[in-house]
Symmetry: C2
Amino acid sequence: MDELLLAGLLGTSASLTLRLGQTIFSSASLLFMSFGVEFYSYTAFCYLVTVMGLVLPWSFTLAMVDAYSLCAKCPLRQPGILWIIIMGDWVLSILALAAACSTAAVIDLLLQNGGSYCPPKFCSRYQFSAAMAFLSWILTAASSLFNLWIIPSL
Amino acid sequence: MDELLLAGLLGTSASLTLRLGQTIFSSASLLFMSFGVEFYSYTAFCYLVTVMGLVLPWSFTLAMVDAYSLCAKCPLRQPGILWIIIMGDWVLSILALAAACSTAAVIDLLLQNGGSYCPPKFCSRYQFSAAMAFLSWILTAASSLFNLWIIPSL
């Protein structure tokens, strides 16, 4: 039972894998959207860049914390910090879903009129960025769900 | 403690209020989007209509169940049915958020070029519809969060 309660806790290898996945996908989404593309002319794309710019440092920091806990064999157990992590994961997963959906909807609209609003080179980059944002959301949501397990033990 | 555990359970007046709010807002969103507006030319708007068409019967049915439980003073306690309700609420709240964000992003894009793609009469209807969808999402998410309380007692 104790094992089950700690399944999603910081400092396990599962948590480290999820955090590394979030870091990779959010940075891929940022890179596809930021370089060589006119993202700032669309509100939804600016929002995606903002949100992924929040997810990236958050996941990276938590991945570092996980790696440290794994090496030092000393899991984090302060309830205050755990609450901040739980809340942050929930808020970021909602924001990431919103950003990914907005981006996907705008890309779909840009592609509608035979792609005249969207040069093929740019459009495929936008699409990759949206796909990476969705993957990043799925992993953030998985982290949030795993976090539910530790609430009863707080 | 038992009171707290049952706070979000079906058959309380709080739950009935949430369900009625979801029904009202999702039907308002559907009405603003469906009548007199060319919603079918935009994928995001079709998606909103589909999702709100799912939220409406779901919330209405659960509001009826709540009202019946309140009158008959006999709350629903079958774990199988409660799991279906918990899962349904989570899935619908994710879908509603995705639909509301996609709609808002598309409206923003339509309004960008001085509103040339979006006659004022239509655009205000789209905006009302998106706002109602957001309100409906907030209430569905509140129901999902309240549902978390009953998981430990299942």
